[in-house]
């Protein structure tokens, strides 16, 4: 066994090549979990996870199926509240406030933390109304010029040029990749602080995937992005920080993406990203 083993990057990360202003800023924690457990009935899906997620960076969550990374994501904006059997222990702070405190309204929380799902889920409404939906339900449609806000969100989601002539047609008539970018536009239109993405490209073809990946890099200039992905190359390409979950809902390692992919501390992480496990 050679001692030089760790000098060779296991997977090359794209981070070094991408110039993103956010990377130069000092880390400021926006989300913090301390000793977080999530149970579905008697089954523990998240096991004692503590993590600090920095502002305006892309943080990737990787790990094998069933490792709890999606569950963790859903516990951030309390979407797990929708599941009767889900139960939470421990603390999760958003800008210093425990989101599981009695006085936190999950609806208000979700207005600060947007989410994009694995499967594109546009509403059976026009493209315009899909993007305007968040502004309308949040009562922001009177404060802003709705058409401008819709255009801004669609531009930010790199969809504007493709749909600007058919804003009144149904969002369901778009292709899968366009639908997913529509969902991203819908999530960012009300200008949340954090954007959660649950495997946003896993249902898409490679071209649509690369569009979404480019988009995520751009979004990180303004938003804190937390992305769950099955695809390690994707995590390596787009994220600044990477958290590795392993079976049992355990957070095994959390560090800069370059460190995780080129020189991980934990042998299990190395085994996982080299494909020996998982």
């Amino acid at each position: 066994m050679s001692t030089e083993q760790n000098n060779e990057p296991i997977i090359k990360t794209g981070v070094q090549n991408v110039a993103i202003g956010a990377r130069d800023r000092p880390d400021e924690t926006v989300l913090e979990a301390t000793n977080l457990d999530v149970y579905y009935g008697d089954e523990r899906a998240i096991d004692d996870v503590s993590i600090e997620i920095p502002e305006t960076k892309v943080t990737a969550m990787i790990g094998p199926s069933g490792c709890g990374k999606s569950t963790f994501l859903r516990s951030i904006n309390r979407m797990n509240d929708q599941i009767d059997a889900a139960r939470i222990d421990g603390d999760l702070y958003f800008q210093g406030k425990n989101v599981y405190d009695e006085d936190v309204d999950p609806v208000a929380l979700r207005r600060k933390i947007g989410m994009v799902f694995q499967k594109p889920n546009p509403f059976p409404k026009s493209i315009h109304d899909n993007v305007a939906y968040g502004l309308r339900v949040q009562g922001k449609d009177d404060d802003v010029n709705l058409d401008e806000a819709v255009e801004r969100a669609l531009r930010a989601a790199a969809l504007w040029d493709e749909v600007k002539d058919k804003l009144d047609s149904s969002g369901l008539d778009l292709s899968g990749g366009q639908q997913q970018r529509l969902c991203i536009a819908r999530a960012i239109a009300p200008d949340p602080e954090v954007l959660l993405m649950d495997e946003p490209a896993s249902a898409l073809d490679p071209i649509a995937t690369s569009k979404i990946e480019d988009l995520i890099a751009d979004l990180a200039e303004e938003y804190t992005v937390v992305i769950v992905t099955h695809n390690m190359q994707q995590a390596a390409r787009i994220s600044d920080k990477t958290a590795v979950f392993l079976t049992g809902g355990e957070l095994v390692e959390f560090d800069d993406t370059t460190t995780i992919f080129e020189n991980p501390d934990d042998n299990r992480v190395e085994d996982y990203i080299t494909g020996k496990f998982g």
């Binding site: 979700r110 799902f117 059976p124």
Partner: protein, 307 residues
């Protein structure tokens, strides 16, 4: 084709790799069974065709042999004198009945379906309500007529007015509307609800803004089909007292005779002229039914691709 095939190795012998497998009988069974189930499915079609043929024949004989003028038929109200009898009052009463039935049944029916599907916890009370609804859907229509007679016509003294008939019909179709609305709501994928919640919408905003619009074609289809059932109901209206009347019903508090009760009355008359008036009335009623079903099918096809 070409003579090359003569050289094919199995061309002259009967032997193929499959000669030992005899599927003849299996395929015959297949065809026999197909014939039986096709005949079964055609049974309804043939019966409907015979029924239509009968109605059209009677309608035609009424027009020719008995000189029933369609203009008179649509512009005159009921009458004891056969040459003066028409259908206008019954049509007007039926249309009004449908409007009031729809208003009464739609909001209560859709409201309870939203509660049961979106809000109700999965407990004994909910299951009791749902079992109750399933049973109500199977109650004979005349029982609703009895209920309306006892509670509204006599109980609170409404008398045999159109509104009492509408209440009876609304009670009759409400379980159908509730069940079809529940199905339409269940067909809205949870991913859409989650998309709305994740955008910071409350439960009611989600139902109002996403779930109901997505389910509305299904709800409308179910409601129209329920009303199509109501428009042909005779028994509850007879119980309520929708008797042969000689004038048009002017409002919900007027006495009335709807299309099916008018037909029922005419069919019970001894003179053949009235029988053929009844046949003409049946043709009109069927036209209403087909139109309503047509609207329901149109709505379903128009919106079905969206989900």
């Amino acid at each position: 084709m070409s003579t090359d095939t003569d050289d094919a190795p199995f061309a002259e012998s009967e032997e193929t790799p499959f000669t030992d497998i005899d599927l003849g009988w299996e395929h015959r069974k297949n065809r026999i069974f197909l014939g039986i189930i096709f005949a079964a499915s055609m049974f309804g079609v043939v019966m409907l065709a015979l029924l239509l043929l009968d109605v059209v024949t009677d309608f035609y004989r009424g027009q020719t042999e008995f000189g029933i003028s369609l203009i008179d038929f649509f512009t005159r109200d009921g009458s004891r004198r056969q040459e003066l009898a028409g259908f206008r009052g019954a049509i007007v009463a039926s249309v009004m009945l449908m409007i009031f039935t729809a208003i009464l049944a739609f909001f209560v029916g859709v409201g309870s379906a939203i509660y049961l599907e979106e809000y109700a916890p999965d407990n004994r009370v909910t299951r009791l309500i749902e079992a109750n609804l399933a049973n109500l859907a199977g109650v004979p229509s005349i029982v609703y007529g009895l209920l309306a007679l006892a509670a509204f016509v006599n109980g609170i003294g409404l008398g045999p007015i159109l509104l009492a008939g509408a209440i009876a019909l609304a009670l009759l179709v409400m379980p159908i509307i509730i069940v079809s609305t529940q199905e339409a709501l269940r067909a809205v994928p949870d991913s859409m609800r989650n998309g709305s919640y994740a955008t910071g919408a409350t439960k009611w905003q989600t139902i109002r803004g996403v779930v109901l619009p997505a389910a509305m074609p299904g709800i409308m289809t179910g409601t129209i089909l329920a009303l199509a059932r109501a428009i042909g109901e005779t028994a509850p209206l007879i119980m309520v007292g929708a008797l042969f009347t000689n004038r048009i019903a002017w409002g919900p508090f007027d006495r009335f005779s709807a299309m099916p009760t008018q037909i029922y009355n005419w069919a019970a008359e001894p003179e053949p002229h009235f029988i053929h008036l009844a046949a003409t009335g049946i043709a009109v009623l069927l036209a209403f039914l087909f139109a309503m079903n047509g609207i329901a099918i149109y709505l379903r096809n128009k919106y079905e691709r969206d989900l």
